[in-house]
């Protein structure tokens, strides 16, 4: 598969748009990234998409780096650059432009309404993201049950213990390697 300058530019612009929608963190825009990279352009399959996010969670550093891995796995080094620049630049510029206004008005009705009003959307986006990551495995009958069990176990472990997410991801890798999923 070869990529032209136009592809990288489109990638950058798509991620710019997602950047502006990423209230609640970049992870909430995963459904948009999935739609673009997997369903629309077929640069990644569902497993490759999920693996990209798993790899980023297993490594140290800010969560946002999953975007670099997605870009890399979809379109190589320039893909990583296009996606990262896109997801970072518009939100950062907006942040610097509006930070002092928000600081001065943080008790304003409109900001409190915005925070409250966005919460259900953020929740829905994260639950959808969980589903999209799991669906490549749920669709294979021989792996569906194991996947559901492991997801439930992870949710319980994340809520009841203080284990770092990276350890949980690595433990998941071991469980998979041993053939339980």
């Amino acid at each position: 598969m070869s990529f032209g300058a136009g592809d990288y530019l489109e990638m950058f612009l798509r991620f710019c748009l997602l950047s502006l929608l990423s209230v609640g963190g970049a992870i909430t825009t995963v459904p948009g990234m999935h739609h673009y990279l997997v369903d629309e352009r077929h640069w990644l399959d569902g497993r490759g998409f999920t693996a990209s996010i798993s790899l980023a969670q297993a490594a140290p550093g800010p969560n946002i780096l999953f975007v670099a891995v997605l870009g890399w796995n979809a379109a190589g080094p320039l893909g990583a650059l296009a996606c990262m620049a896109g997801i970072m630049l518009p939100a950062s510029a907006l942040m610097l432009a509006l930070a002092s206004w928000i600081r001065a008005n943080r008790d304003a009705l409109i900001l409190r309404a915005f925070t409250a009003g966005m919460l259900p959307l953020t929740l829905g986006l994260m639950l959808t993201t969980g589903w999209l990551l799991a669906v490549p495995f749920l669709q294979v009958p021989s792996h569906a049950v194991g996947t559901v069990v492991l997801i439930v176990a992870t949710v319980v472990a994340a809520l009841k213990t203080r284990l770092s997410p990276a350890w949980l991801v690595l433990a998941g890798g071991l469980v998979g390697l041993l053939g339980f999923v």
Binding site: L55, P60, G61, T147, T154
Partner: protein, 200 residues
């Protein structure tokens, strides 16, 4: 406890002396964060370096959470900007990202080589299920907030379900789903908060 201590504003004891120091501290805290840098950032900036008073950290984070963008990156951006202007913003973010990016892309490179090996496929299946579980657990942790939300539980749950249905069944794009549902949620919360009177 004296009355004075309660009203006196808390201020940071120290500040970053140079761009190099800024880079080093943000790099150090990023590398300690496995699957979430925020708790480390709090420890490093508030307790170890004392660059931020506890209240300042909370305030800065609150600003980051209102705005789009990854919260912890926005934190580095605003913190760097406060002391060194645009250069500081760039150096703070670079400190947070430079080395972790190299590490994670190294992993991606290895992944590219072994992705089709049966053992790698099996391991990544387990890792993928855990990744899905982790993101679902983040959502589950925020669910109690829905009960305290100005929208009320019914509307909150309805909007959450509408988001999921819109994305998974109707295949709506985020570009209009977020503005429409987010806009409606904000409007409804605004009405509820105003009706309640601005009691705090």
């Amino acid at each position: 406890m004296t009355a004075d201590a309660a009203v006196e504003p808390q201020l940071a004891a120290r500040r970053p002396e140079s761009l190099g120091e800024l880079f080093r501290v943000f790099n150090r805290l990023a590398l300690q964060g496995f699957g979430g840098v925020l708790p480390v950032a709090r420890f490093e900036l508030v307790e170890r370096e004392q660059w931020l008073a506890p209240d300042e950290f909370v305030e800065l984070l609150a600003i980051c959470q209102v705005m789009p963008g990854p919260n912890v990156i926005s934190l580095a951006l605003l913190f760097g900007h406060r002391y060194f202007g645009l250069r500081g913003a760039a150096v703070g973010v670079a400190g947070m990202l430079a080395v972790p990016t190299v590490l994670v892309l190294g992993l991606a490179l290895v992944y590219g080589r072994i992705a089709s090996h049966p053992a790698a496929v099996a391991a990544l299946r387990g890792m993928g299920a855990v990744s899905a579980g982790l993101i679902i657990s983040t959502a589950v942790k925020s669910m109690p907030a829905l009960r305290r939300n100005a929208l009320g539980v019914t509307l909150g749950v309805a909007l959450t379900l509408a988001t999921i249905v819109g994305l998974l069944w109707l295949h709506l794009a985020l570009y209009y789903l977020v503005p429409v549902l987010g806009g409606f949620g904000t409007w409804a919360a605004w009405r509820a908060l105003r009706r309640r009177g601005t009691v705090r």
